[in-house]
Every structure is written in structure tokens, then in C-alpha cells.
């Protein structure tokens, strides 16, 4: 498992709807804030890149020192973003695809308002399990 990894889901209106620190390194608040800052800074690049390809997985699009930002854009322009220090493209791709499927299941719930925060604790548990499995 990667030592550092931060995963967020950003809605199409640029609002973070899910955040998780999934690395095995000890949690520090200032580091978590730095991770979010790097991820948000990468959003502009995603916006331009998203229209140049029809693939959902955009691979590594930005880096900060030894940290890499990988992004997955869904059909509805919800962005799954992962900040990581490992070099495991296949694992990251599988991770994104499985989280994407979980996200669709959340979205299909008529009581979930698209673009609102994902508060389901089962979702959180499953995402963390996937992170342990693939990253």
C-alpha cells in the first residue's frame, strides 16, 4: 500500500463531495490540507484535458515534488482525483473503475441529490477497502 494517498471526488460544479486520506503514513492536519490544495490546483488542467479525449482515465496529469495527481472523469463530468506517491497505473485504474461503479450506485438512488455530499458510511468503508486492495 502507498505511504501517501489522498482521494477526493469533485462534482461537476467544482464542489468536493467526498474526501479521504487513504495512505498508511501517520495523519497530520497540515499535510492533509496541502494535499487538498494540490488537488484543487490540478482542476484547471483537468478541465482542458477532459475535452481532448473520450477516455475516462486521464492518467497522471500533474505532479508536486514526488507526489503525482491521477484523474478519472466520468460521463457526467464528476472527477475522481487521487494524489499518490506510488507508480502503479494498473492498480490506480482498477481503483478508479470500482469507485466509479460505487458512485453510479449512489447516484441512482433517487434520494441522492446529484452534486451533493456523499455521506453514506458504507461508501466510505468500501472506498477505503478498495484503496487497501489496489494502491
Amino acid at each position: 500500500m502507498a505511504t501517501t494517498a489522498c482521494f477526493i471526488i469533485v462534482s461537476r460544479n467544482d464542489i468536493p463531495i467526498y474526501e479521504a486520506e487513504v495512505g498508511s503514513a501517520t495523519k497530520r492536519e497540515d499535510v492533509a490540507q496541502l494535499h487538498q490544495f494540490i488537488l484543487h490546483a490540478a482542476l484547471d488542467i483537468v478541465q482542458d484535458l477532459a475535452w481532448t479525449t473520450s477516455a475516462m482515465f486521464l492518467k497522471a496529469i500533474d505532479r508536486f515534488n514526488d507526489l503525482v495527481v491521477s484523474v478519472y472523469v466520468t460521463a457526467g463530468h464528476t472527477r475522481l482525483m487521487l494524489l499518490h506517491d506510488s507508480r502503479n497505473d494498473d492498480g490506480i485504474k482498477s481503483f478508479f473503475q470500482e469507485v466509479h461503479e460505487l458512485y453510479i450506485k449512489i447516484l441512482l438512488n433517487p434520494l441522492y441529490l446529484p452534486g451533493s455530499r456523499i455521506t453514506s458510511s458504507q461508501f466510505d468503508t468500501k472506498v477505503r477497502a478498495l484503496a487497501r486492495k489496489y494502491l
Binding site: M56, E101, L102, K105, L108
Partner: protein, 194 residues
């Protein structure tokens, strides 16, 4: 009760596998539910435009979800980034899943560059509906227009979508045309992508 005893119970939606989309729904059950949707909304409004807007909003929520589901299930995780691509996606893939057939026609408007039309001889939602004279140009296809707008808007192609009756020669019932007028930014982006 339909389906009782056949469906495996799951404690939450995340454990349940995504539907393969092969099930069909009884037309009369759908027509009854849709009729209730129209009737309920009619009690909540005091003019036709407001009623159309409410039906459209109901459709929008369907469209936004359908896009995400179908791109994953039927298109193998490919997004649509081009105008014609997303239009044919609506015309064939979406129509087939929702109504069991592809739409009768997809045309480009002759007068304006930014207008496209999807026409259907007998739109499923209008099959058991006739509009009273005093309701003017009201069309329950507003619900379908909303679905189309939901798909387009979520995919990043904002548009104004409206449903109209168009009389046809030699036919008793008019056909329904879904008119799509794309926002300026969409056409600018299309020109840039070349």
C-alpha cells in the same frame, strides 16, 4: 405483487450489482404512473408553462442519471466529447433503453446552426394522452425534453430543449418533435475542437 420472492434482498444499494438493463416494464403500469405524475403536478401549478417546467425538471433528474449509467454499461467507460456523438448517443442508446427503440429521426435545423430535432411519430409518454383545446400548445413530451436536457447538460452540452406537436399529413395524430437549441459556448468549443 410483481417480483416478490424472485429478487435477492440486499442490505444496501452498494452491495447490489448494477442492473443489466434487460427487464421490461408493463406499458400500462408506466402510463398509469405517468398520468399520476401529470395530474399531481397539475394541482400544484396555475399555468401551463409552470406545468411544463415541472415535468421537465422531473425528466432532468432521470437524464442526469441515465447518462452516467449508460456510458458505464453500454459504452464501456467512454465519454462523449463531440456534439454529433452525444446527439446520436441520445437518439439511439438512450432512446433504446428508455423506449425500446431508436428515435424515428434526428435532424439538423434548417434555419439555425445550433438547432437539432429528434422526432418521434408516437412518443411513448403521449400514447394515451390527448390535449384539451383550452390547454393550447401544452405537450407532455416536456418530460422527455427534460430527460434529453438532463443528458446533454450533464455531459457538458448545455441546451434549451422543448417538445412540440407537429401535424403530419394523412395522419390523425401529430408527431412530437424534441427541439434542441445548444448554448453558444457548446458551438464555440466544437469549432475549437475542429
Amino acid at each position: 405483487m410483481i417480483g416478490v420472492g424472485k429478487i435477492k434482498q440486499y442490505s444496501n444499494v452498494l452491495d447490489k450489482p448494477l442492473s443489466k438493463g434487460k427487464q421490461e416494464v408493463s406499458l400500462s403500469a408506466f402510463a398509469f404512473l405517468f398520468s399520476e405524475l401529470v395530474q399531481y403536478n397539475q394541482t400544484q401549478v396555475d399555468n401551463i408553462a409552470e406545468l411544463e417546467r415541472r415535468l421537465e425538471d422531473a425528466g432532468y433528474a432521470v437524464g442526469a442519471r441515465v447518462l452516467e449509467l449508460l456510458c458505464h454499461r453500454d459504452k464501456g467507460n467512454r465519454r462523449e466529447t463531440r456534439l454529433l456523438g452525444i446527439l446520436s448517443f441520445v437518439h439511439s442508446t438512450v432512446w433504446k433503453v428508455l423506449f425500446g427503440k431508436v428515435a424515428d429521426s434526428l435532424e439538423k435545423g434548417t434555419e439555425h446552426e445550433d438547432e437539432y430535432m429528434i422526432s418521434e411519430k408516437e412518443l411513448l409518454v403521449n400514447r394515451f394522452i390527448s390535449i384539451p383545446k383550452d390547454m393550447g400548445t401544452f405537450n407532455c413530451g416536456a418530460f422527455v425534453a427534460g430527460i434529453v436536457r438532463g443528458v446533454l447538460d450533464s455531459a457538458g452540452f448545455p441546451a434549451v430543449v422543448t417538445a412540440h406537436f407537429v401535424p403530419m399529413e394523412g395522419q390523425q395524430r401529430p408527431r412530437t418533435t424534441i427541439l434542441i437549441k445548444f448554448a453558444e459556448e457548446v458551438l464555440r468549443r466544437e469549432a475549437r475542437l475542429g
